[in-house]
Symmetry: C2
Subunit: 216 residues, 2 copies
DNA sequence: AGCAAAAAATCTGTATACATGAAGATTGAC
DNA sequence: GTCAATCTTCATGTATACAGATTTTTTGCT
């Protein structure tokens, strides 16, 4: 066949993981996946290796590939890294964003507002991701932006759970508003601090949820 | 054979790239590499994919693998990302480092001092890397630390050139001293700012060098 | 009936084979 | 002599084959 299998497979698997159709910890059998996608094991294997590198899949020698299941410690550390990177994005975006960047952020924020007004969790979820991504893009630094996006996707499966926390959506939107205010005022330091806290609180709330779940 | 080839190959190739034996832009022919290491193309291919994910190798469809050659823009952006991450490390390390972490940083700094005293570029180079790595480790955040190390290695091939700038070693060491002072005083904000500047200046100096080279 | 040990089945890791697309060489024309 | 087009060669991408290891199942013993 023509040389287009591996990227397609990687994207398909990535979508499955990020969207939650494949859950953290689940085994990824090469033969089954090969049959499912109608290809041989080779491109499946290559796609899994790539996903392993971006953190979505965990491959251990002779034990196969599994959807990454972060332990409590790694989860806290990952959210902290995310918070630091997003804070950097905010600081740089405040200093550099173009009019188009500003418009994109405002548009994403409006999307979030609509979801909140409608009380629609399912709609807030992607709108939130777009809002954050718009800030990454506004830094003008594509390497930094790509890194932020990679982390965002790696943590997506875990955020899913946490959004079920009551009233989280409203609190999240209020935080967005404060971030946006500082950002548009050109106050990078404040925007960075608020965005850092916004991300960190997600990690903390998730940990609380995790602790509660483990009690049961 | 036993399942130990791919990791070994990845490390060998990574060493070759980071140490400069394989230069940015150089082609990585799968068949030649397979012959050189006495294995088939399969594990070579898997190692290359992994290196591609960590940024050391660039694979383009039907065009083969090459040692990553960052363009001017990507280089500036990568150094900026590195600067942001290292600044975060400094801030967190100042707040959290243990006595052992402090000792490790001090030891690495002493190594750097010896290299400077001896005027030994070749020795300063790895000692500098260890000094920075000690700060990453002192954050207590392994995910963050791993990310910082990954970037450090990806940029290593470019730093090599830049260390040839006259008197850069002395300036670098002086900056280390200022960073260490703030760090040991528990002043995370100052340590972060100094480390950020320390990394950024490397990127800028490199760009000047690059511009000078392109003139010739 | 429960547990342990051995055998069978299965899956991973590596090697090899083959086809398609790309790069280079050679030949022909201007 | 130079440029272009075609053909040849070669490398990548995918498929398939095979060996070793791991896991599961089955069987025998307590």
């Amino acid at each position: 066949m023509r040389g287009e299998q591996t990227p397609r497979l990687r994207e398909a698997l990535e979508d499955d993981i990020v969207a939650g159709r494949l859950r953290p910890g689940q085994r990824l059998d090469e033969v089954s996946l090969a049959e499912r996608f109608g290809v041989s094991r080779t491109p499946i294997r290559e796609a899994l290796i790539q996903l392993s590198a971006s953190g979505l899949v965990d491959i251990r020698p002779r034990r196969g590939a599994h959807v990454t299941l972060l332990g409590p410690r790694e989860l806290v550390e990952s959210f902290e890294l995310m918070a630091e990177i997003e804070a950097s994005c905010a600081r740089l975006a405040a200093a550099r964003m173009s009019a188009a960047d500003r418009a994109a952020i405002a548009a994403a924020h409006a999307e979030c507002r609509e979801a909140v007004a409608a009380g629609d969790d399912a709609a807030y979820y992607p709108a939130n991701a777009v809002f954050h991504a718009a800030i990454y893009a506004a830094t003008g630094n594509r390497v930094l932006g790509a890194e932020a996006l990679r982390l965002q996707r790696a943590l997506q499966p875990y955020r899913r759970l946490q959004l079920k926390v009551p009233r989280r959506m409203d609190a999240s939107f209020a935080e967005h508003e404060a971030i946006l205010e500082a950002l548009f005022a050109g106050d990078g330091a404040t925007a960075a601090e608020r965005l850092r806290a916004h991300v960190l609180v997600q990690g903390e709330r998730f940990m609380s949820l995790l602790a509660a779940l483990e009690e049961a």
